[in-house]
């Protein structure tokens, strides 16, 4: 039964290790209620980088000034096992009060806000304004040579708008990342 081993047979290390996470990976949106204290974001991000988890999107702001609570919304990808680990690890942190997996809890409203600067003239300028109208993007600033649009929607919508603007003189984009809440009358 025992392994027969010859001394010193192995000449080199090997790197063909099997990926233990070959299972199916999926994106999850996590809503994390934390104390709004200094360093709390660093703790959460440090957990993700330290343990090798993905962050696809992250937003944070105080949502309850009286209770000093902030909501962090993180979109992460992983196998079910990894997602469970992430939630358990987050829950261990002292300033973390609640971790809600919106992807598991049911349907969630997910929105992102983006600002686009488009520099163009002539037909392109007209076309960018027309498309902005179709997407219900607002003009929040303009010069004779440029428009700055504000657009809110799903990430897909923002991606689509960015793609359309690209040939029309899109210079810069700023995006907030995803914020999300559960649909319906239940609070999460």
């Amino acid at each position: 039964m025992s392994l027969k081993l010859k001394k010193g047979v192995n000449k080199q290390s090997a790197y063909n290790l099997r990926d233990p996470n070959l299972d199916y990976e999926a994106a999850h949106t996590l809503s994390i209620i934390v104390d709004n204290e200094s360093g709390v974001l660093a703790r959460v991000i440090g957990l993700f980088s330290g343990r090798g988890y993905n962050i696809d999107s992250l937003t944070v702001a105080e949502v309850d000034p009286d209770g000093h609570r902030s909501r962090i919304t993180i979109v992460t990808t992983g196998t079910p096992k990894v997602i469970n680990q992430i939630k358990a690890q987050l829950n261990r942190m002292v300033p973390v009060h609640e971790v809600i997996d919106l992807t598991l809890k049911g349907k969630a409203v997910q929105r992102e806000l983006a600002i686009f600067k488009v520099v163009a003239n002539g037909n392109q300028r007209v076309e960018s304004l027309r498309l902005a109208d179709v997407f219900r993007a607002k003009v929040v600033d303009s010069t004779l040579k440029s428009f700055t649009f504000e657009l809110t929607g799903t990430s897909e919508k923002i991606d689509a708008f960015a793609e359309l603007m690209a040939p029309l003189g899109l210079e810069e984009i700023a995006r907030t990342g995803i914020v999300a809440l559960l649909r319906g009358d239940n609070s999460s």
């Binding site: 001394k7 063909n16 358990a88």
Partner: protein
């Protein structure tokens, strides 16, 4: 609150520690913590042990904590003092040891300016503490320290750090009493899943080939968990094995004891783990040193996992019945319900199972070839065990082969008697840990089973041992090698012994004499017993330089990437390599 009711931050620190019942602090002063040291000087309730390096302070606090069940406390200064504590904090985090480190910091108005001895201590220690705090307001200092003790000691225990800028130590503020703080920051324990518990009990009753696998969580949970574990084993007659951290929760002399499991565990323990059909894991975490190859780990068993930390569940091994909560509480519920249901076990099958186990025992996997000319390290540990086991004894170790031999050949009858660095595997842990243990148990026999290389990593603590007259026994298995590294190089790296020997070793006897303590050198197996007795009888610290066989390997061994039933039992010569997959693992 009137000005008269205010006290300085430094006073608050001392008062809060006294409020917490602290009587001992391990530390090292420096500029940024001087106000606290000044307060320390003016009181008598807290004894301060001056170590010779801050890493040693943290390990001493760990030894103190693990041998008493209390919380260990450390003072360090800012900058280098704080960074020196990082290894001990990480060690305590990995092994779930409750310690509170209070670090001095540069004054708040200088933070961020690269001030002298400034380091981002909370930033650096964030990933190696359960939680840490930078206190910027003296009025919050007491509350924060009390919180720190709560966090360190509750749930799964662990290290915390409170960083106190110097101006906060000088400023005056209000004191908050221990019982005045809100405890809303403590995590609520989920209630125990009774259906899951019943399912686990049902499976326990039917089990044909059961095993109990216990870990450090049982010891952390306290004496009632230990008692319950022992009752369960006695009541069911199930075999039991423990992790390195769990030794002593079930007595080594108990008839159901299979010895330690894992990479250097016994054949019977690992084979039982592999072949069982019911596994009851209590306060252990399926660490890679325990499981071997994950996809071949105990393939046919129903697995029950009792743990207080939900993140330990299904992390490495997917289990069938997770039971989350304090081990002592779940165990007593489990036993009560099992008794209610008639204390049933599958007796007939159990008898057959014990037969297989006994046949594995006959392999005598801890066997080694003794010698009359040179001291075999296993023999040295065996004699040490034989000659000291009747004493009121505590054992710490360093990290390496000697550590595994100590785990294999020493028997622990009670919990909190065995202190070793398991999760982090920190060379240099054992000597300062032995100091912390001796401080807590001044009249006990405290032995550090050491390797020469590890021991050198914190040898400066000789000064501490001498200053406080701590009769710690440093039992060094001197193979003049980084033995465990050498073993891996022999087995995995083509016998290329890259930098794995201990050159330029000191003369340990002279070293002892330089500190005015006793040194003993032993190289003759025939002298060993007498020399060990001499060590025990000497009323002060002793360095015992035990010159042992230099090329002995530690067996049995599950090589990385192999399964439990693929153990190596001893030196082999036939062709069969550790796979390349395994070689890349640590």
């Amino acid at each position: 609150m009137t000005q008269a009711n205010k006290i300085t931050g430094a006073e608050i620190v001392i008062k809060a520690l006294i409020d917490q019942g602290v009587d001992t602090v391990f530390g090292y002063p420096g500029g940024a913590i001087l106000p606290i040291y000044d307060e320390l000087f003016q009181q008598k309730k807290i004894k301060h042990i001056l170590v010779r390096h801050e890493q040693a302070a943290t390990h001493a606090a760990e030894g103190y904590a693990r041998s008493t069940g209390k919380i260990g406390v450390v003072f360090v200064t800012s900058g280098p003092g704080a960074t020196n504590s990082v290894t001990g904090l990480t060690d305590a985090l990995m092994d779930s040891v409750p310690i509170v480190v209070i670090s001095g910091q540069v004054p708040t108005f200088m933070i961020g300016n690269d001030a002298f001895q400034e380091a981002d201590t909370v930033g650096i220690t964030r990933p190696c503490t359960k939680h840490n705090w930078l206190v910027k307001d003296t009025n919050k200092l007491a509350e924060t320290i009390h919180k720190a003790f709560e966090v360190a000691g509750t749930g799964r225990p662990g290290p915390v750090l409170v960083d106190v800028p110097k101006d906060v130590q000088f400023a005056s503020g209000c004191y908050t009493k221990k019982n005045e703080i809100k405890k809303n920051f403590i995590k609520k324990e989920p209630s125990i899943d009774l259906n899951m518990l019943d399912e686990a009990i049902y499976r326990l009753e039917l089990a044909e080939r059961p095993i109990i696998y216990s870990g450090g969580g049982v010891i952390n949970s306290g004496q009632s968990a230990v008692n319950s574990l022992r009752n369960l084993v006695a009541g069911t007659n199930f075999p039991i094995t423990s992790t390195l951290m769990g030794l002593g929760s079930y007595p080594a002399s108990g008839k159901n004891w299979l010895g330690m499991l894992g990479m250097h565990g016994t054949y019977e323990a690992n084979m039982s783990m592999h072949d069982c059909d019911f596994m009851l894991c209590i306060g252990a975490r399926f660490d890679d040193r325990i499981t071997g190859r994950i996809d071949a780990f105990s393939p046919n068993s129903y697995k029950v996992h009792l743990d207080i930390d939900p993140s330990s569940i299904n992390k490495n091994i997917t289990v069938d019945a997770p039971l989350i909560g304090d081990v002592s509480q779940i165990l007593s519920m489990l036993i009560a319900r099992w008794k209610e249901r008639g204390s049933k076990v599958n007796k007939k099958k159990l008898t057959a199972w014990w037969k297989s186990i006994n046949s594995w025992k006959e392999v005598q996997s801890l066997g080694y070839e003794n010698s009359s000319s040179v001291i075999k390290p296993q023999y040295a540990v065996q004699r040490l065990e034989e000659l000291t086991k009747s004493y009121n004894r505590f054992v710490s170790t360093e990290v390496g082969q000697h550590q595994m031999w100590a785990a294999q050949f020493m028997g622990f009858e009670e919990p909190n008697r065995w202190m070793t660095s398991g999760g982090l595997g920190t060379m240099g842990y054992g000597f300062p840990a032995s100091i912390g243990i001796q401080i807590a148990h001044p009249n006990s026999l405290v032995i550090n089973v050491a390797g020469e290389a590890s021991w050198l990593m914190n040898m400066q603590e000789l000064g501490t041992a001498v200053q406080y007259r701590l009769p710690v026994k440093q039992f060094i298995l001197n193979n003049e090698r980084l033995g465990m590294v050498r073993q891996w190089q022999e087995l995995l790296h083509g016998e290329r012994y890259s930098h794995s020997w201990s050159d330029a070793l000191p003369d340990f006897v002279k070293l002892a004499e330089a500190y005015g303590i006793k040194g003993i050198r032993c190289e003759d197996p025939a002298m060993l017993d007498d020399n060990i007795r001499e060590m025990i009888d000497y009323p002060g610290p002793v360095i015992f330089d035990c010159l042992v066989e230099k090329h002995e390997n530690c067996f049995p061994m599950i090589p990385s990437g192999k399964a439990h039933n693929e153990m190596i039992l001893g030196e082999q010569t036939e062709e069969n390599s550790i796979s390349d997959d395994g070689a890349v693992l640590v």
